[in-house]
Symmetry: C2
Subunit: 374 residues, 2 copies
Amino acid sequence: MKRSAPEGTGAPANQAPTGDTTRAATDAHGHIDAPAGRTSSPGRPPSLRDVARLSGVTYQTVSRVINDSPKVRDETRLRVLAAIEQLGFRPNGAARALASGRTQVLGVLSLGTSAYETPSTLEGIESAAASAGYTVTFAGTRAPQLAAMRKAVHALVDQRVDGVILIAPLISIDVDALPLPPSLPVVAVEGAPGSRVSAVVIDQVGGSRAATKHLLGLGHRNVWHIAGPQGWFDSRGREEGWRSALAEAEIEPPPLLVGDWGHTSGYEAGRILSGLAEATAVFVANDDMALGLLRALHEGGRRVPEDVSVVGFDDLPEAAYMQPPLTTVRQEFFEVGQQSIRLLLDQIDGRTSAETRPVVPTRLVLRQSTAPPF
Amino acid sequence: MKRSAPEGTGAPANQAPTGDTTRAATDAHGHIDAPAGRTSSPGRPPSLRDVARLSGVTYQTVSRVINDSPKVRDETRLRVLAAIEQLGFRPNGAARALASGRTQVLGVLSLGTSAYETPSTLEGIESAAASAGYTVTFAGTRAPQLAAMRKAVHALVDQRVDGVILIAPLISIDVDALPLPPSLPVVAVEGAPGSRVSAVVIDQVGGSRAATKHLLGLGHRNVWHIAGPQGWFDSRGREEGWRSALAEAEIEPPPLLVGDWGHTSGYEAGRILSGLAEATAVFVANDDMALGLLRALHEGGRRVPEDVSVVGFDDLPEAAYMQPPLTTVRQEFFEVGQQSIRLLLDQIDGRTSAETRPVVPTRLVLRQSTAPPF
DNA sequence: TACGTTCATGTGAACGGTCACACACTCGTC
DNA sequence: GACGAGTGTGTGACCGTTCACATGAACGTA
């Protein structure tokens, strides 16, 4: 029933491509047509062949037109474009992909999208991809279990995406264990160093050093740190920056507090710190935890910045409106997204990019949550 | 270069259909090859035919196996599965889509993804879609201009997605003006009432009424409102709920303040309200603006909730950690995502869902930003 | 013994494009 | 006046599946 033979359109094949303007005019479909719609389709959307038939050329010529081939006479092109418009023709991506071997789709593999950073990075990815003519598909996993990740990879591979961006900032994720075809271009965001994939990294260490040194420079004798969960590249980098700045000042680091990125864990760390009179400066691994800390400090009767100075990391939009406005380290997530696409397209197009591991800078944004001690 | 004739296998054009088991056995390239990987592929990923050849059946049988057809002998199935495993075969989605007419991909059309609500909804969409065997593709626009939206729609249509979820809470967006094929299932999240698409809506009005009545119930003589930008369904619904609650109490609504959802606009509205002694209760259209308001009130020396009561909308994760913890109206974004997928799948599978316009409830979450006046 | 059934597998034709090449024309050139 | 070089357009094969149907073997049953 589906596969019916092409059948008597009644129109004899025209030999002279007259390009008759009169015809074009009379047939101008600019008029307000019946409410039903412009394409009186029998069911299946129009194909190259339908357009070809209507405009009196072969499907190949139509193909040339939709691909902007220069080898088409202007007159012909116009005729074809009119037919395309009239029929509401849109090329079939699946057929294209099958024939050409390229899908013009990029895959993003991530571990959940509710954190602020991910969607923001995604925006960068999406916009950069779009301007290069690519669409973006997501395959998420909430759990960083290998099995789930494999499944997500399969979804992408089955779709034959032209490239993959891997947002998997967990140290435990072994990129090489993922069932990615060796020929598939891959770019990792944060992490997976040493493996075959190139990566975009954020200058975590630099930002953390700047934050810690800022507090030290204010005159604090020591700086406490609320770290992110173990196993994250981000946590590690930030802790490292903090340690290195302290080491440089020859200060023995105080005990490390560890959170899980969430507000609550920052709050809990804050309960502990509230009781410690010597804790006059705290560098928190992200703004969310910093918010929790701020609240705990407030409840504990310790004023910020008079009694305790706080520096966060991320520069979320709300950081400027916290109580007090939070001094923090800004990360350019959008740029991360853009850069990762750039890198990926380089791989796809066989360009050998000079830098395989671009570092996106961070910068300290001073607001009102820090002050000299006393 | 790509289309090289099948060559140098030494095998003369075989007249016997490929299913020759003997040949398959001798020619089995399944031998343990160099550590490089399991598939000694010449370039192109393995296809049904490759698997068929290796396992001594026809491509059709392999097709049956990967589609779990019951009409395959167990022994055969095992043999095929082994070959699939050995070759690392993965079905080609494009070819599948072309032949079957279904892509198993759902499209999401939105206007940017950095707001909290969108990614959260997206998560719901993604997880529900995944468990139904669908992948999700995004087509974003930052600008709600029709031209940009059309382009995004085209990206989805060209991909031949099986259905579309439209996140476009702007009243001005005319769904029917989008170049969506009439046969394509579409579900809108919030809005676009009256058009051919079904929609998932959030009980904005109910939530707002609850918020306003709560403030009134506390003894406030009046309730001010900081609304979202004009042109959003959300803004409208929240304003409506507020108005209706006031009307019910026979209170003349105070002048409306209008923001743009951002922290800053809430802050600015707050500067105004700080100077107004009679403004003892404020219902803000979202938590972000509420945060700005809180900050402005603090700077203006007005205590919350002692001098001014504040209720927000959304229940962002940070609401509980604001200063003071914010009483707000909770929206279940994740559920919105799930519901929209459910509705969409109903359309795709031709199920006639009982409800075409499910309403996701909201609920007032009491915290510490409200109190009786004085 | 012949014969319809059932189960397992094979066959050929789509699906809607792209690719490499072949085929007319129309020129300018010697 | 035949010839090589563009142009623009057509032709056939192929991409990797699914679909509808054909075929063949094993099995009762008349």
